[in-house]
Each structure stands twice: as structure tokens, then as C-alpha cells.
Symmetry: D2
Subunit: 353 residues, 4 copies
């Protein structure tokens, strides 16, 4: 058996970071934990160890609930923070609003998502304040309960700590809870170079979806509760949604390996660095216009239909014309290599020549 | 890395089949599929291959939806078959009624589960007929929509093909759909020595939860739709419940290995055979009374408090006194060996001596 | 226009108390409140007056939410007391379990009703205690949250104050909330000859469905919260279920008239007395066997198929053979008169002669 | 008892049409139907008569479900037309989106409302077409299922028959169902001077909330199904939401009187005419600017803060500054008289003098 990931072939897909497989270290961890009998449903030592590790990393006792998907993590977190007659405020381009087939509403029937726009897929504080004055205390309307933000955002941008603080202040003064969709938490963390605590509970976050799948796990996300008083409720909510895994050791082992030896940070740095390298390579090419700064592992740029077709013809894949005419999105991952990136740059150069 | 499962230590837990790990072949399959980039969300060749394999095994084109837990598989299947104002008929000791924290009701808000008792955890046809006359067409009551049966049952018993046919006839004449919780489908199949088709759609089953987790997978269950017309709806339902995995290859790979080289049947046979061996060993011991015939991998017997304590003292674990005073449940799994079983028999003998 | 209710024809239906119309005083109140403009949605003086009146009657400040149906009143009350992963304990013959098409589950998706049997449609304290030990704190099961009792019960029996106290003690010690379905609250109150406070919050009731429809209103039920802290939540819950009436004055006027000049108590006494008169009349008839004591306005008795047919032939209507062979249920109402009752007794005598 | 509505005092509130009471004819009908015993739950002759009358009026056999509130009527209708993974397209200023505390989502858990803007509170066909191309068939998104339009709209404007036809064509070609919130159906009908059939099913409407409360009833709305095949499902849905009234005769009597002698059309004409008279009176006043044409019973205009305050001081009530600075909304009703209107015009003239 050969664990060297993807050794010979080029990674030619930039469609999403979920086209990658898993880190070999995480695959290995599955095999290593596959010895003997252990208690099911998270009552095993390995799962307890995860909670301890994450408490250390976040500098505070946390409760951790492992699940298999980011949609489940988000929907579970939001359901604990929001009463059935409440609403979640989120960006119109957020994953929870657009890409989860109403999972937040399924997990919390009757609650609503209300969108608050803003540049770079980030909530505008001014618009948020405005929304919070709407029909307050009026029984004819659901009530604002929770702010959901994505870090890094769906377009790869990042809230800096000051921006998070502004949102926290608004939420605290309006009695709103805060949830963070951290499907790309590690990518944002590496980008900001701050501590996990600073980017989460110190910024007011009550519940975090701590993603691992996009960054090297097979299928593992941790819902992290910074207020452990919510843990009892979350236990029932996870089970009733079918997200309590019996052989939990295999979820825990993924997260354990993910957190060991800074694998999560190394993987995120690799993805971010490759995006940066790609950005720099594309910057010099005539006819390609970069759209905004690349803060994590997602690049938006403009290129001609001819260039797009040429790249497709070479075997590269990515989304084009989905966010506007000639707009191309390129996503790198932990598995993207320098050779991968350089091959794409070269092909782009050739096509625009 | 050593894949020989559990080689040195005895398996001393008979609490449940989910205390076991995974078959080494399935762990290996994860590593083997971890090469290169593939389409996410089930749009990969590996997932397509699973659907083909299961269509062959079930002798009919089927639609397959992979999920991570049996509760999810059951709740999804039932939600497709039952209108929101309908109810599911099930045994009072069924997993869906007792052990899923109302997942079927969460996935289909407003629907109910109505219990129909019967010997050996099997639905009594007479009682089922009786329930089906209750408030039919009366808007003050939810309406019978779906029969859910578990095969093998929660206590390890098995509906034979004749019994299934009786239930099918009742359901067809009352316009009821049929769902099968097959968390231990393989154990039942091996016990009956019939074909998968006979034990499912030929017996009227519309949707099957085809379990793999208890029988050697890490975390993988297949919802099998025998009517492919339900597939579109199921696609949305899986996603909105957070059970659509992005890196689906790792779920598909588990099922692929599970179905390859008859691993699923071999594993089930091993579990069943070890239960049979254990039953035979216990049968000869003074003071131990076997309760019913062991048809799959679950044994119920009566033993004295002294014997129970002695076994606990030796390090064996299992449920006692949960189904009645001095009643003991012993569950074997694919990972249980002859040495394991013989050690338990020996200890039981000693303690009753 | 003639307000004298039902002056000439006999009331020959004993099917239910809801075949009656409304008390003339309540119809009059609608006309009287139909003057000028008033604030909608319960922000009118009339509605405020109701809350005051009910606070006086119950000897304690209460919050009142008027709705149009008993099912709505029950489902709303239960939804405030029960978390989504909780269950309501109720009698298997209760209205909420049998006759509301799962409204409690619709209003609180994912919650369950768990039945606790007992004689005379009353919860058995011993069985309740037993149920409360089942899977406590186990995430695989919904958790006991609320006890729902019906007073008077669906078969017309009544919990006496001692019996209520026993249930209260169990609930308090197990941290359960208590809801009372008081569709026939007045009938029970008149039967027990106690105070409304004694029969409700002093007996541990947290939320009461205070019925008026069966006892003389057109369509008006009051959800009474003994803990006013629940009122904010209830406001949103009522609206989101479509049960907030815009022209609330017409609901309030019904309850106002119902409570004025002891109309509610007089109506209930009339219904109960007519049932008693009927019981006494039937008692002397050969071939008719009374089943249990008549405590409110519902009589159960046994009569021959011949007698039943004879009465049907005379034009009388009632349920027969629904609760067993030859078992007849007879329900009186506030509109039942002595002539009505005597006509039925006469006919029964003739038929059994 | 004096049934002459509101005879002496001026109607000085223009806040909403729901501050009015009920038509005396409708109050009378309640008293008249209050004789003898009738079958409950809509199994009475009076309710059957309503269905017949509405079938005549709409020139087609219809199924009718009476409920007590417009929110219930809308939410029930939408829940029948929309699968749980579907969404309803509606105007951002629609009642269902803004004023029902998420009732549509409560009645159909997991479904979403997606807004489509447009001038005059009317859906823009171009924008609708655009929305219908979004993530079609993609499991990550709920799917377009139903278009909901309000006629007359929440601001009193009216879709003409041509506009309805355009929407119908779009819906038919995209396989969308159509629901109409007709809380002010009569006002729109009188305004367009067309037939009820033309304004409903001939324009593609599948289910209509036929409002009566705002136009003279106490509390009565009819959900009208133009496809009677949906009736069975609707029966269960109405009951499980607590909206099946036991003494249905009192709801039916309201609708019966409403439809008799063209009361519904006369009432709507009165409201519309009074709005027109008010519009004309305000048009000539210096400093008052009318905003758009008044098509039904709602006027929007601009007046100075001084004028607003003056009118408030005189005892008039209405919403100001809610839709923008100095913007005033004035709503007339069936109960508004010429004296009422002239008094307001006079006061406005004086204040602007």
C-alpha cells in the first residue's frame, strides 16, 4: 500500500478543495485506531482526548461534538442558539443560505435566515445594525437571534480581528448569539496569524463549526461549544438528526491526527501558499485580471473566453462564468503542489500569448 | 502498520457489535482510494460503481444513497414513504421507536410512530390488521402509511420468508409502504440462506437501510430505493439533513470493499457462527438457561447474579438485568474469534461450578 | 330575530357536546361589542379585561392567549413546556394522543407523546413513576418533559384534588411540567365543587387549556399561563401557528360573556345535572347497565342491539359499539333540557319493554 | 340590541381595515344559525352550502376549507403546493414574508420563502424568470415550487388580468404552482370589474385564500382549492394545525351571509369608494402629495410632520413614517362612511392652511 498522496499525476482541478483526498497521516490514523474493542457513541478515550486537545488549542474548556459534514455542524450549532421563532442573520452569499438546501431551517423548523449584505462576502456592520431595528418585539415577525459569519468566507476573504470585534459589539448590545462557519477556519487562522481563541470566543463566537474535511480529513467536522452549558442540549440534537456516529473512534482519530504535529496548520499554509503562488504567477500574464487580494486558498480573476477554453482543453477544471461573465474561480487545497500550480500558470501564459 | 485486526488481545466485550472496529479490507480500501482528485458529492466513478454492484446483488436496478448512520438511513427512508400526516407502524422494541431520539419524527415533522407488538420483536400480523382499521380516513387521526420492520430484529430474531409474505400481503391490501431497517441485514440473510432480493423487494420492501457499520465498516449505511422514482426526492432530503458527504469516495470505498469477495457475507457468517458456538457452549452449563433460539449474533440467556458478577470480575462486559432480572444479552461480531468465545464459555463454566 | 335557543325542537343528539350551538348570551355579546373601531390583535380593552377577570377567578396574575380551537390550545401549551427533544406523557385515550392528528407533534417537531395508561382514562401514578425511570439522560431517547392530563377526562371522569396532588408531587420531584387539557374544565369544577385555583396551579398545572366552546361559546378557548414569564414566547408561537385573530374583540367578547354572571358554571351545571338525570332514569330500566359513575356530562352504559336500534329509529343519535360491543356513550350539554332527557328515558323504557 | 353599525361616532382610525367590526348582516347570521343541533367539524348542511355557493361564484367545482385567520389560510395553501425541499417565490413586501412570523415555514418545515422584487408590491416577471434559473435541480438548494401573489397587494395595488396572464405563463412553463393571498380579494375584484374565475383559476391560481375578515366578517377565511384532488390532504393539514373548528356552523354562517345579496361586493365597493373619495379630497390640498393611484382601499401620500401631528391631535390615527419620512398610509374599510372621510379631508385642509 502506498500512502504518498497523488504522487505522479498533476492535480488539475481547481473546482473546490473537496476534490482532494485526505492527508496520508489521517488515513494512517484510521488504521492505527482500528485495534480492539472500544466504547461506541463517543464514550471512548480517543474522543475524550480530542476535547482535551481542542480545549488546549482554544485556551478554554470547550465541549466538542464530532459530525460528518459541515452542513450538519452549522445547522446543529444554529439550532442551539436560535429559538424556533427567531432568525439567523447571514450573508446572502453564505453557504448556509445558498448551499445547504435549507438545513438550518430543517434542524430548527420555523426559524428563518435573513440576509445582510456586505462587500467581500462579509457582513456589513452598518447594514446589520439597520436590520436589528426591524419589527423588534413584534409578534408578526421572527426575531433576530443569531449572527452567522463564515471565516474564511465563501470567497476566501477573511474578517480581521478588528472587524470581528465590531460585529461582537453589535451582537452583545442587541443580545445576539454568534455562530461561525469555520469550514476553512485553518485557512483563515494562518492568514491572520492570530490565535484560535482570538478568532473565535474572544471575538464573541458562541459556537464554532471547526472544519477539517476541506483541509485534509476524510469527513470530520467538530462543533465546538464555548459555553459548555449547551452541551446537554447538543447531545440530544446531534442524535435526533442522525449525526451521532456509533464507531466514533474513526471520527476522533481523524481529528486527532489533524491536530497532531500542526498538521492542520501545515495543510492550510500549503493551500494558502499555493494560492499565493498561483496569484503571483497569474498577475504577470497579459489579459488576466486578478479580482481582489487572495487571503486564503481561493482566487477570483477575469480571463478571456479563449483562455478559459484553452485551459479546459488542456484538462484543467474550475468554475467560470458563474459569478459573472469571464470570471474564474480557482481553489487550491492542502494537496496542491508547486508543480501543479506552475503547470497551470504555464498553460495560462501559453494561451494568452 | 499492522492491519491484522485485534490480533493479540481477547475481545471480552459482548455489549454490542459496534464496539468492534472495522474490517482490515475496508480500512485498506480507504487508503487505496485516496489517490488524486475526484468529483465530490457522489458524482464520482466509485459511487456509481456501488449502485451498479447493489443492482446486481439485488437483481434489479436500485438507487443508492450512502449515509453515515443507521438512524439517518431509517429516518430518510421513512420520510420518503410517509406523508407528514401519516404514521409509521413499528414494533415497540424497534430501534426507530426506542433508540433514535425521535429521528423519524424529526425528519418528517408531524408524522407519528404507532407501535404494533408481537413475539420475538416481530410484528404480529393479527395486531397489525387490527391497527389498520383504526380511524381510517378520519381527519382527527394520522393515517397508516408505512410498515417498518427490522431484519434481523433488535433481539437477533429473523422474519422468515413466509412471515415477510404475510406482512407484504397485509400492506399491499391496505396500501401501506414497507421499510426495512437492515442494520443487521447480512446477519439475517446468512441465517435464512435466501437471496437479498427475496428478503427485500420480493417481500414488498420499498426502501431498505442496508447496514454495513455493525458488520465491518467504519461508518457507512446504504439507503436502497427499489423504486428509482423516489431518487430525486431522496437527493434533496439527504442534503437538507446534512447527510450528503462531500468526499463521498470514502463512503463508497467502504461499501465497495464490503461487497467485494463476499466480505459482507463472510463477516456476518463469522458473527453468527460465533454466537452459535457460544450458545452451544453455554447450553451445557448448569444454572444457565438459554432464552429462545439464536438465529443471528445475539444471545439472550438467564444466569445467576453470582455468575454475572464473576464474569464482570474477569473483565467480560455485556448488558445484564436490562430486559428483566438476571437476563443477559451477549452480542458477537465479525471480529469475534473462537478463542474469544471459548474464553467466555470457560469463565462461565468456572463461575457456575 | 329570536335568541331563545332551540326553543321548540327536542335535542335528540347525544353524540357530543359540540353539536350544540352557543349560549344566547354569548351571541348577544358579539353584537354588543360590534360598535366602532378597536385595536386589532388583542390590543383592545376587551381582551385586557379578560386577562383581569381570569386573574381574579384564578386568584393569581395569569397571562391569557385566546385561540379558536382546543387542539390549538393544547398544542401551543405543550410546545412552550416541552423542548424539541422532550416528550409529553399522556393517557392513551387522551384527546391529544388520539384526536388531534398529531397537532402536538406538529407544533413541536421532533417531540413525542408517550402514553401512560390508567383506569377511568386517568394517568396511573405508579405507571407514571415507572415511565420516568426509562432512559433518563440517554441521548438515544427523548426525555420526559411534561405531563398532560385532561380534566374532566375524555370519558367524563374527574381527578379529585388528592389525585392531582399525587401527580404534582411526582412531577415536581422529576422536574416535569404539567399541562391540563381543560376542554371540559367547567364540568369538572362543578363536579368537584372546588376553586379554579385548587384544580389548576395549586395542583401544579403550569399551563391550562381553558375550554369554552363545548360549554356555550361559538369557538373560543383560553390558554392560561400561570407563569407569566412564558408569555413572550407564547405570543410568537400563537402568531406563527396562524392562531392570532385580528378582530380579537370577537373572541374576547365570547369569553367575557362566558365568565359573566357565572354563565360558565351555570352551563356546566346544566350539562352535568342533565347527565345525572339521564343516568338516574336509565338506571331503572331493565336491560340497561350503567358503566361507572357519571361525574360530569358523559354517560357510558350497555344496552342491547335491539334497544340501540329502537332509539336510532326514534331519531336519537349517539355513539354505540365504538368502545366495545353494545357500549353506548351519551353526552349532554348546556343546551340539554329536562324534556330532552325525559324523552330519551321514555324511549329507552319503551324499547326495553 | 342595536345592530346599526357604528351609528353615532366617527370612524377616525385609518390604521387598517381590521380595526372595523363586522357587518351587521354577518352578526345576524350567527344568531340565526344558532338553532338546534348540527353536526360538528364541517359535516353540516350550512358548510356544504358554502362549497356550493363558491363553486357557483367561481364557475367551477371547488373544495373549500374554512379557517379563522389569513395567516392560516396562506400557510395551509402553500404547504399543499410546496414540497418540504421546495421554496415559495413571493414579494419582499408580502404579508407571508413579513407579517406572519414564518407561518409558511412552520406549516411546511424546511421549505423557504425566496423574494422577488417588483414595483408597486407586484412581482416583476423579468426578475421572476431570472430567479427560476438559479440552481435548478441542484440538491444543494431548495427548488422553486410555488409562486405566491397577493391580490390586492399589501399596498392596495392590483395585478390586472394581463399581468396575471404573464405570471401564469411563466409558472406553467416552469412547472410552478400558484397561490393567491386574497385577504382583499373582493377589493381587487371590484377594482378590476372582472369575474372571480378570471382573477383566480383562469389566471392559473391553484389555491386561493379568499378573505372575508377584513371586509366584514368577524373571523373567517376560505381556502379555496381549484383542484379538488388536493382536498383529502388539506383535510388532514387543517386539523393537525388546530384550524378545524368544531362548531363549524358559525364559520359557515359568516361566509354564507358574506356571499348573500352581494354583501361582499357591496362592502368592498364601499371601502374602495371611500378611498377614492378620500384621495380626491386630499388631492386638492396644498402640501399633500399623493403617491401612486389608489386602486382599492389603501392610500399612500406625503404630508408634512406638522399636518401629521395636527391630524393626530384631532384624534385621527394612521401609520406615518413607516414606509419613509413623511409618508402616510390611510386604509378605509366597508364601515368607512362619507362623513368619516369628509371629516378627515376637512381636518387635513385646516392643518395645511
Amino acid at each position: 500500500m502506498n500512502h504518498v498522496f497523488n504522487s505522479t499525476a498533476l492535480n488539475m482541478s481547481y473546482v473546490s478543495d473537496n476534490v482532494a483526498g485526505a492527508s496520508p497521516e489521517i488515513i494512517d490514523a484510521l488504521a492505527q485506531c482500528n485495534t480492539g474493542q472500544v466504547n461506541p457513541y463517543g464514550n471512548d478515550d480517543g474522543t475524550a482526548r480530542i476535547e482535551k486537545k481542542l480545549s488546549d488549542i482554544f485556551e478554554r474548556p470547550v465541549s466538542v461534538f464530532l459530525v460528518n459534514s459541515g452542513s450538519a455542524a452549522n445547522a446543529l450549532g444554529l439550532s442551539v442558539l436560535t429559538p424556533p421563532w427567531g432568525h439567523v442573520l447571514c450573508h446572502p452569499d453564505s453557504h448556509i443560505y445558498n448551499d445547504e438546501c435549507a438545513a438550518p431551517e430543517v434542524f430548527n423548523p420555523g426559524s428563518k435566515l435573513i440576509t445582510v449584505a456586505g462587500e467581500s462576502t462579509k457582513i456589513s456592520p452598518a447594514r446589520l445594525r439597520e436590520k436589528l431595528t426591524h419589527k423588534l418585539g413584534d409578534v408578526h415577525s421572527t426575531q433576530p437571534a443569531t449572527l452567522s459569519i463564515t471565516q474564511a468566507t465563501e470567497t476566501g476573504s477573511v474578517y480581521n480581528l478588528d472587524e470581528l470585534q465590531v460585529l461582537k459589539d453589535i451582537c452583545r448590545s442587541s443580545n445576539l448569539k454568534m455562530q461561525m462557519d469555520g469550514a476553512r477556519f485553518a485557512n483563515a487562522l494562518v492568514s491572520l496569524n492570530c490565535t484560535p481563541a482570538e478568532m473565535s470566543w474572544k471575538s464573541g463566537i458562541d459556537i464554532l463549526s471547526f472544519g477539517a474535511t476541506k483541509n485534509g480529513a476524510l469527513s470530520a467536522e467538530a462543533v465546538i461549544l464555548f459555553d459548555q452549558g449547551m452541551a446537554t442540549e447538543m447531545g440530544y440534537r446531534r442524535k435526533r438528526s442522525g449525526h451521532l456516529t456509533s464507531k466514533m473512534r474513526f471520527l476522533s482519530a481523524q481529528i486527532d491526527a489533524y491536530l497532531s504535529d500542526d498538521l492542520w496548520l501545515k495543510n492550510a499554509a500549503q493551500a494558502n501558499n499555493m494560492a499565493k503562488r498561483l496569484e503571483q504567477g497569474l498577475a504577470g500574464i497579459h489579459g488576466i485580471e486578478l479580482l481582489g487580494e487572495t487571503q486564503t486558498n481561493i482566487i477570483f480573476c477575469k480571463m478571456s473566453a479563449k483562455t478559459i477554453d484553452h485551459l479546459y482543453g488542456q484538462g484543467f477544471t474550475f468554475y467560470a462564468n458563474r459569478w459573472g461573465k469571464d470570471i474564474v474561480r480557482l481553489v487550491t487545497s492542502f494537496a496542491t503542489t508547486e508543480q501543479d500550480v506552475d503547470a497551470l500558470i504555464r498553460a495560462a501564459k501559453n494561451s494568452s500569448a
